[in-house]
Symmetry: D2
Subunit: 346 residues, 4 copies
């Protein structure tokens, strides 16, 4: 089959991956599942993998097929699989877990002690087929198209997971700030609106992003190119700050907003990444706030997100691209030229 | 009366405060309380106030009497005070709160919108008497000496508050790390031991501090001058890391321990301060941990700590000093020469 | 002034209260507030007070003016009141609290150790003026009419409090059941819809109530006069049961629904009352569910509910009645003939 | 092999089970595990199964081998088992779960949608060998004897699970009451003491049970045959009631204690069973307390309990009996004549 593979880390996005012929995957264990890919979302993390930013955090044996936002149709199953059968349409939770270690037993899929992460540590879904396992697949409700929903497999679940943490702290009348209304942020904003009665402020550099935010439920918007973010948020929140800030950017600049925008006792969720947190410890003490990292999400959270999609609470903006266009997509994302989420359709 | 007052910010601890005569405080509102001070703990924060580190966070009108860890005997009460009467022995929660704003209504005393902080924003307890209010005083159980318990008013409640946050995440078999077994840390360690069945590792540069930690309940100790902290904690925790780290130091070095010592999904509590948090946002994402600032604690938490003291679960190490010795105490603390907690007895 | 007072417990609703002249209240403490009543909601609990059902739970010194859902305009204030001034429009939290006992310090207003409950333990708001205190009043946002909002002071906060407990357990895709779409239930249903993305089933005996439920956001309705409630809920929830059941009726019949309608690990909130819980302890063990009583709610919860009202998330159905009509209202409520909530306008 | 089997429901404990020869179990799926039983605890629930009390809650196909508190040595494993190998000593979580349904994914083993419960729905451990699966076995730490620890597989985990729920609500100075210091209660009391700094009151009819309670950490004891339980608890708690009551008996009498012993906002955990909860819904509303059923516990909770045992925090009182003595054990338990926990050693 055809697959888009990374042979060496590079900054050159326009020639990063090679399209080549590889063996078709087959189940060898009783719980394995092969999925014919109908949609595989392209993520900022794919660019970061290409640059080698994940090499220190994740074992990576190049060449490797990228692609960790996968959905499609079950093509084959191991001998004891019961959750799905051949022909079922599924979305894939991004990681393959053992179901036996303590984190798995606590529902904490991302920290499985035997985790495999297709597209980051094993071959992913920018290919005609993907090898995964029974614990990673969620059957789709009738009428939900795998290509449309694919980005929820990572962008969606990551945004949902962070929002789920935040809503527990948000009462009616409290304020939340969503920083970055891109692939993840526009999902997070909708989840926040569906799951709470909080006042939402969206922050983004682009006018179209702020318009989209307003359309999707934001009550206030702030454009850092024209306004001072901290004084705007101070005004919006009557000087109290935002109880929860969801930072889908994770740059030096966005992390630095925390001391002056997070309310006492609140949290600044670090979801996007690329920059640094740099603050005096006294600032954290005085404001009694946290920087809280979040990483993807649980299988059960992906189920919950699928339920939100089925209810019509989350609308995903996507564009479709052929497998052969992966490098062009990578290049355009690097320059902020992708609207919504790009989905590869092998 | 005599009071130890700061006239200007300085790095010279040995001449920082002047002992001088000021007017005796009197209640002017119906809820005010005057306490004759029998013990006022000297805190690292007093040194930081002297250096001017709090000027940007707190309105300070110099000259000001320092001292925010106060206990003593009620000398006078406003007309509608019911919680205490003249002659009662009390420990003082460090801040005076209004009881009417939303944070107060939620029990979150430290973030009262009308807060006054004797010793940081108004005159404190390094004096013969202190003006505070009914919402700040807790009557002492019989047999508890005000001078002995005074440091719990800030050191104790601060350590307790952080530990209370941590124990909710600590199940039997989980690991916690206490960094810095000084004035706060030795209290925190005992609270942790009394309130959970967690495995405790103490980290400190001084042998005596580590011996004290073992005596007070630590199961493991690590000395950074002789051992590599992250590899030791890795070994102690079987490679899983510590679910909760309580950092009573807050230096660059201790904050930098987080990515390699905190377990996935865990928290690094920033309690001490003075240095910086400096990490790539990707490190927080990959390890899914938080840096969580904590600031003193609630009135109800001080009640809970008094209950622990009454049960015999927390043993405080103190030394006593005359009001005239405040500058000598400041100087010795600056050089790490105070054992346990110094208490001023005006 | 005129007041509607109970002189003895009775089953005769149509002559229960006497309208009579009493002294105008005046502030005697520094924190007291007198409110000229513009609206006072009539509650099923008023009928229960008349019947003597609260005599064993609450000290009641008859004659007593009833009325515990109060809103109006501040007429006078004690000498240290800062939250409101004469002329401010306010809604009154139902109880007067001390702000000093441990429950108050934890935000738990209903369990204040020095609580006074106007309309249940002291004179209430079916009168021209009410004596309450600063900790009980919430200033109304501009444009919110006191008469319109009065029932939120008890019906609203009680519904909100229970829903707030429930939403913490309700993820997208989970089911909640609201039993009884009357004065409280129609508010609870709207709060549930605004604060979560749960699937909502409404249960009521009356067609109009079920129609209202659908209009206000219920996804499913069940009429026990025509359908078997447990088998309907079984079908609606795919055999899993409802994670949370909010029982605004509290009769023998509604409490008996729990073992067959509540999902494993879920809760049956007892909000309405009048009947009994009667179950084998084995049923609770096998289904691992709870019967959880709830009582009114916190001051901060009333603030949150006012924020929901201001957002337009909660629409209250009321009818207005003169003070002289109190007995007619009581009689009609007893026979289920009040639509929405009756508000007395003294 | 030999097994103790139930052929029909009966009240005659002294002849309830037949010892007979059955086929040895063998793994047929890739994840199955056969354990040679070294200890199988006898539980009050075994008596209840014999009486038929579980027939309405659990599918039971008689004849069936009883025994759900099992520990022993792995004798055989399916082809993909990795957690244990032949010869490993293990304790068995009481249920076999699928690891795939939503409750399993949330860690909620007891509510697995494909659960099998050896000893209640399939053949259990009063036999030489038991068929279970990889998700049910926990390897024992060195030095922990399977026969000694067997009762923790159900009595222990059940007590631990309830206590874990309770300790989250118990701050220093709060009160907890443990009702029934028998097989489960004496474990629960020790867990409570190890995991919190709460004040513990033990209630039991037998002097030896109360002596044991004191020895194991109870601060107060109440004997209902000589004292009025509610007035004693009122006195012990200064009129506030107990924040959490753990009812290991579950009779009419113990359930009826709730309204007068549980503090406002607290919980009465129903762990033991046999009687009824019978209360006016108004009592739950007025006291704002819950009756909360609890059922066994999670696999991860059994891991945590094993950690407590390894720390020396929980001491189990057991007696050992041959497989042939099962009916005598059942008879003696029925008459309250078993000290601690009886363990069958097939």
């Amino acid at each position: 089959m055809q697959a888009a593979r990374l042979h060496e880390y590079t900054e050159e996005m326009d020639s990063a991956l090679s399209i080549e012929e590889v063996d078709d995957p087959e189940p060898t264990r009783s719980d394995e599942v092969v999925v014919d890919i109908e949609g595989a979302g392209w993520c900022q993390t794919d660019n970061h993998v290409i640059e080698g930013m994940w090499a220190q955090y994740m074992p990576q044996d190049l060449p490797m097929t990228l692609g960790h936002e996968n959905a499609g149709t079950v093509a084959a199953t191991g001998g004891e699989v019961t959750v799905v059968s051949e022909g079922d349409q599924v979305i894939c939770h991004p990681v393959m877990t053992c179901g036996l270690c303590r984190p798995c037993r606590l529902g904490d899929d991302m920290h499985c002690e035997n985790v495999q992460f297709p597209g980051l540590s094993t071959d992913g879904g920018f290919a005609e087929s993907l090898l995964t396992n029974e614990r990673a697949v969620i059957p789709l409700p009738d009428g939900v198209d795998p290509t449309d929903i694919a980005p929820h497999a990572d962008a969606g679940i990551t945004a949902y997971h962070a929002v789920k943490g935040a809503v527990g702290e948000l009462n009616p009348g409290d304020h939340a700030v969503v920083v970055g209304i891109g692939g993840l942020g526009h999902i997070g904003l909708q989840c926040l609106d569906a799951m709470s009665a909080t006042e939402i402020t969206a922050v983004d550099l682009k006018d179209e992003a702020l318009s989209l935010a307003t359309e999707l439920g934001a009550h206030h918007t702030v454009d850092p190119t024209e306004e001072d973010v901290t004084s705007e948020i101070d005004a919006i929140t009557d000087g109290r700050g935002a109880k929860q800030v969801l930072d889908f950017v994770g740059s030096d600049e966005t992390a630095a907003l925390a001391p002056d925008t997070v309310a006492a006792g609140g949290d600044h969720y670090v979801i996007g990444y690329g920059g640094h947190v740099h603050e005096p410890t006294q600032a954290l003490v005085n404001g009694e706030f946290s920087f809280t990292g979040t990483l993807v999400g649980q299988y059960t959270e992906l189920q919950e997100l699928v339920a939100l999609v089925e209810r019509g609470d989350v609308d995903l903006r996507t564009t479709r691209h052929d497998l052969g266009d992966v490098n062009a997509v990578a290049e355009r994302l690097e320059h902020g030229e992708i609207e919504g989420r790009a989905v590869i359709t092998p």
